[in-house]
Structure formats: structure tokens, C-alpha cells
Symmetry: C2
DNA sequence: GCAGATTATGTAAACGTTTACAATCAATTT
DNA sequence: AAATTGATTGTAAACGTTTACATAATCTGC
């Protein structure tokens, strides 16, 4: 790989001149420019981003880091797409770290991204009191949190109104006549779980329905736990008539059990999942779901991050996007 | 962010000494080591990977690039998981570039990764004559191609026996009595499409079944095209009794149309998809599918890449993994 | 008590850029 | 014609590491 120096030699100019034609900031004689451009072409020169990054000051490194709990989850894939699109349009490159719900791995990625001198990071914190992220903030990196906020910390956040979203879904079930509504919740330690549970409880209370504690099952947010807990629910003496699943993996796991047991949706049981997927209509029956647009979250987070990078003193803000109840065919009136 | 120099000052030693305790290669006096380690802790020092990479020679940069056509596709998510796991275990970091089937964007990411001085790259070429990747090889980067090979080029490849996989699936359908078997193919320009079509044709020919050209529908490998082409097939005067869909997005799209039209799987139509998903059992009925393990591909590709990085003169090899027909409930005997 | 080995540390160059500053030269002004 | 200006280019330092080499101090065996 050719370097500035080699280009300079071939064009018979100094490296400074080459740098100047590359960044076309300063004036350079059209003839020299042509000479240099030829040399660049001949040598197939590509600027070395590593050297550029080492040398240049903040906000010109054109690199952001994204730290996510689970790329297996289609929601985060959407988030990535949103981020990447915005970044790409602004000539930023995205590095992705997937920490698989492992806090130690999260720390590693945060460290690496700092070491890589990213201009900023978008992070979905492992939980609400994530110490790792505080360290990053102390080091004055631009940070945007997504999906989950950070307790007692003034930081940019893009999230969704979880409580309201679940509230609406449960009200919808109640309006269909359901009373025995189960809730397979997410991991207890992540803030969204609490918010979603709150929405559930609020809706039940509003309509004067007592919550059967047997019907509330905390999962670890995975496909497998969704399947297992659904099995437990179906084995109950008095199984629920409807179930609300707190994320898309849980939903899919629950559906697996439901089909395995030969239960019919929505005849035997109604189901609403948090998180819509672009192929939710491909399920049989098509899934009724609370949609949060990962793509939109990613886009917003990326623009906020870029804003924060270019004007560091900018005050922090919190964006709360609405969710949308997509009614399809997985719930019935009873 | 603290630098070597600051650590050195605080510990009253030279930067060389600090570097030595960090890389614990050379001998350093236990007392000095302790001093330095304290300084490192006090200052929260993290080595700067950018500087490290700039300075160090090939294979010690601990960074690999991955260039993929579509992260929306769960198959590639599995690949990423496989790569990342292996990389992580060897202390390598992964940069991901998603080119969304856009060759120009592919080139950009390849350039960026070269500029980032990666030790090597794992790439799913845009097509069989991908010029962009040739350039990378010329620059002596270690490269492993996945999913698709590169025509007339001696390069490491990890792929799957597409032809055989499809062949088996079609034979299975034939064994169930199907004769009017449709095939929604992938994008014509990618090599896997041709291989899969070949498997289809071979199976049909072997069993003396004439292929109705109306039943072969080339898609652009997307969810939408799967849905559209399935609609066309169902609208035929003589619709197929079974359909083979060439990747998971197409499968999901086709399923959507099938359910929309009120068709029953497998009563009205049987379906086999290429690509299994961890939630294929959550579909109703559970999907019969040709599984290629993206995870395994990613793992193999990553180990091959690391091998290629550490011994550049190593001869290139081609790994062809078998597929597996996972029989579930989406096909019936007729 | 001294040559030579051993141990421990420091100095400085190098990686490939960007950029402040200096230097050169021609053109313009006074 | 000296001085100022402007355009163009070059020189060298800096970013934060690693590492070859030099240096200094201690020790070994005689």
C-alpha cells in the first residue's frame, strides 16, 4: 500500500503538497495538482485512516462505535440499519460491538472504542446503573443511549414510550374481553422491563382486573426462556386466555410452544408481542404487535450523536418515540 | 485520556519502561513494575489502539473487517456471530461493513478497511467476478470469501454445498409425490443462485420430471420479491403443489402471500425454504428447510483468516460444508 | 579489582498523516 | 529599485505507540 511519501516522490513534490491536494483546502497550482493526482492514480493510493485518526483532532475522525446487547435480536438489526444509513451519509464509519448481555464484554468494547479514538458512541446500556458507560462519559466522549436510559445521569437518550405502548396493548386485550392475561416479562434488571410491567399493571388496575401473580413470568429475554415460560403458562390449571410477550424473541419462543402443543392462535390463546418485525405478517396467523421502530431509533440516535460531536457543549436531550399497536390476527374476542 | 507519556511522568520512568510493563516482554524490575502499574491504575490508562496499529507490523493489529451484502438477513447475523466469537477469543476486534447489495458501497467498505490497516477481511462478494476484492488481494491482504467464491481466483473460501442441498430438498418433494414444483430463485448474478438452480434441475431431470418454465421465478433475493412472485405463482391457472424458495427472506415473503390468500400449508401448498432460522419452529406450521449453518461458516472463516494472517504463505483452501434438510411440517404427501 | 556478562532503564527513530511556519519566487506597489 | 504582497511549496513537529540500540549499574568469576 502506497503512502503519502511515495506519492510525493513520484510526483516530485513534498508530502505537504500531496496532503494539500488530497484535502483540497489550501491553494495548489493546477499543474502540480495534476502531477500529484496522476501519481495518486498510478500508485492506487489510499489515505491511511489510522494515521489520519492519530493525527487529527476530535470530530474529524469520522468514526463512531455502537455497543449493543444482542445482534441476534432483529430489533437491534433495525437500529444498526438506521445508524449506519445516517452515518454513511455523513461519511462516518460504524464499528459494532455485540456484548451478548455480558457486562464484561460490554466493558471491553467500550474500552476498545475509546482506544480506537471514536468520535462518539451509541450504546444500549446493559442496565440502568451501568458503571461502564459512566467511565466513558467521564472521558468526555459523546454518547447517546438508546432503548434504555441511565439513572441519574444527564445524557442523550433515544427511546420509546414502553409503558404507554404496553398499556395500549393490554387495554386492547381487555376490550376484547380478556381478563386472564399473562405477561412474560424481559430481564428484570433492564429498565425497559420495569416500564413494560408498569404499563401492564396500570392497564389492569384501570379496568379493575386483579393480576394473578401466577401469570407474570420474568424471563431472561431470550427465545428459549420465552418457550419455557409459555409451556409453564399453558400447563397451569387455569391457563391464561391471552399472553403479552415483552420482546420479539420471547414472542417467537412462546409461539413455538403454542404450536408444539397444538394450541390454536387466536382460538385457544391470544397473543400480542412487543416488537414488530418486517415479517410479522408471515406468521400464521399474522401477529398483533406493539411496534417500536428500531430504524427510527437508530436514525435519531445517529443524528443526535453527530450533533453532539460537532457541538460538544450542546445540552443533552431525551427523545421518547411513540409506539404503535399493529392489530393483525393473533387476538380474538372472548 | 491518559497517554504513555503521562503514565511515564507520574511513575518517574521513561515511556519505554511503561511500554515494557504493558507488553510484559522484556524484563523489568518488580519495583518499577509496581510503580508503573499504580500510575496506570491512577490515570485509568488505556493503550491507544490507533497508535498501536500505526506502529505495529502486520498480524499484530488485532483487527479484522467483515463485508456483507445484507445484515437484515438472519443468515448473515449468524455468520457475524460465528466470526465474532472466534475473533473475540483471539482478542481480535471485528469491523462490519454492510453494503446492502450495493457494489459501490462494497468498494467503499473494502477501501476503508484497507485504510484501517486491518489484518485481514472476511467478505461475501457481491458476485462471482467481483473486481473490488481482486484489488484487495493485490494489496496482499488476507481474505476469506464466504457463501460465494470468486471465479478464477485462488482464494480461501468457506461455503456450502448449495447444489446438493437443493437437490436433496427437491428429491424429498418428489418422493412425496410432487411434480409441479416451483422455484423462486435468488438474484441471478450471485453464484449461489446458479448452484441452487442447478440442484433443482438435476433433481427434476433425475426423476424425469419436465420443468414448467412458468414455475421458475427469479427474484432479487428480497422479502418483497418473494411475496410478489409467490402471488404470481398462486394466480397461475395451474398453480404449483409445492414451492422451493431460495433464501430465508424469499421464504418469509412467500409465506406472507400464502397466508394472505388464505392458502393452507401444507394442505394447499407445500414449501421448503433454503436457510433455516432458529425460530423456524415458531412458524405455523413449522418450516421444512435446508439448513446451512451461518454460525459454522463464520467460525470456519474466522479461523481460516487467522491462520492466513499468521502464516501468509499458507496455501489457499476451499471448505465446502454440507447442508442439512430439516424436515418439519410444511410439506405433505400428495 | 577488573574483564565481561547480566539486568534494568533510557533515548530516539519510526509508523503515515496534518498543519503551523518558513521559504521562495514572481508580481505589484510606491 | 526597494518594499510589499500573494501564490505556491517545503520543512519539521506532532499524534501515541513499539523497539533497536545505547547506557548504566550490578554481579560473576578469576
Amino acid at each position: 500500500m502506497a503512502s503519502l511519501k511515495q506519492v510525493a516522490e513520484r510526483a516530485n513534490v513534498s508530502i505537504a503538497t500531496v496532503s494539500r491536494v488530497l484535502n483540497n483546502k489550501d491553494i495548489v497550482n493546477p499543474e502540480t495538482r495534476a502531477k500529484v493526482e496522476n501519481a495518486i492514480r498510478d500508485l492506487n493510493y489510499l489515505p491511511n485512516r489510522v494515521a489520519q485518526r492519530l493525527r487529527s483532532t476530535s470530530s474529524k475522525k469520522k468514526l463512531i462505535g455502537v455497543v449493543l446487547p444482542d445482534v441476534q435480536n432483529p430489533f437491534y438489526v433495525d437500529v444498526i440499519r438506521g445508524i449506519e444509513e445516517t452515518a454513511y451519509r455523513n461519511q462516518f464509519v460504524v464499528m459494532i460491538g455485540n456484548f451478548s448481555q455480558d457486562e464484561e464484554k460490554e466493558r471491553l468494547y467500550l474500552d476498545i472504542f475509546q482506544s480506537e479514538e471514536v468520535d462518539g458512541m451509541i450504546v444500549a446500556p446493559a442496565h440502568g446503573r451501568d458503571q461502564n458507560i459512566l467511565k466513558v462519559l467521564e472521558n468526555n466522549f459523546a454518547v447517546v443511549c438508546i432503548d434504555r436510559g441511565l439513572a441519574d445521569v444527564d445524557v442523550d437518550v433515544v427511546k420509546v414510550d414502553n409503558e404507554e405502548g404496553v398499556f395500549g396493548a393490554i387495554e386492547y386485550l381487555i376490550s376484547l374481553g380478556h381478563k386472564r392475561i399473562a405477561h412474560i416479562t424481559g430481564m428484570p434488571q433492564i429498565p425497559t422491563t420495569a416500564e413494560r410491567v408498569k404499563g401492564f399493571e396500570r392497564a389492569m388496575k384501570k379496568h379493575g382486573i386483579k393480576i394473578d401473580p401466577d401469570l407474570i413470568r420474568p424471563s431472561n429475554s431470550s427465545y428459549e426462556s420465552g418457550a419455557e415460560l409459555m409451556a409453564e403458562l399453558l400447563s397451569l390449571k387455569k391457563p391464561p386466555t391471552a399472553v403479552f410477550t415483552a420482546n420479539n424473541l420471547i414472542t417467537l419462543g412462546a409461539l413455538r410452544t403454542i404450536h408444539e402443543r397444538g394450541c390454536k392462535v387466536p382460538d385457544d390463546i391470544s397473543i400480542i408481542g412487543f416488537d414488530d418485525m418486517y415479517w410479522s405478517m408471515s406468521l400464521n396467523p399474522p401477529l398483533t404487535a406493539v411496534r417500536q421502530s428500531g430504524y427510527e431509533i437508530g436514525k435519531r440516535a445517529a443524528s443526535m450523536l453527530l450533533a453532539g460531536i460537532f457541538t460538544p457543549q450542546r445540552s443533552k436531550r431525551q427523545v421518547v418515540l411513540p409506539t404503535e399497536l399493529i392489530v393483525r390476527k393473533s387476538c380474538r374476542r372472548i
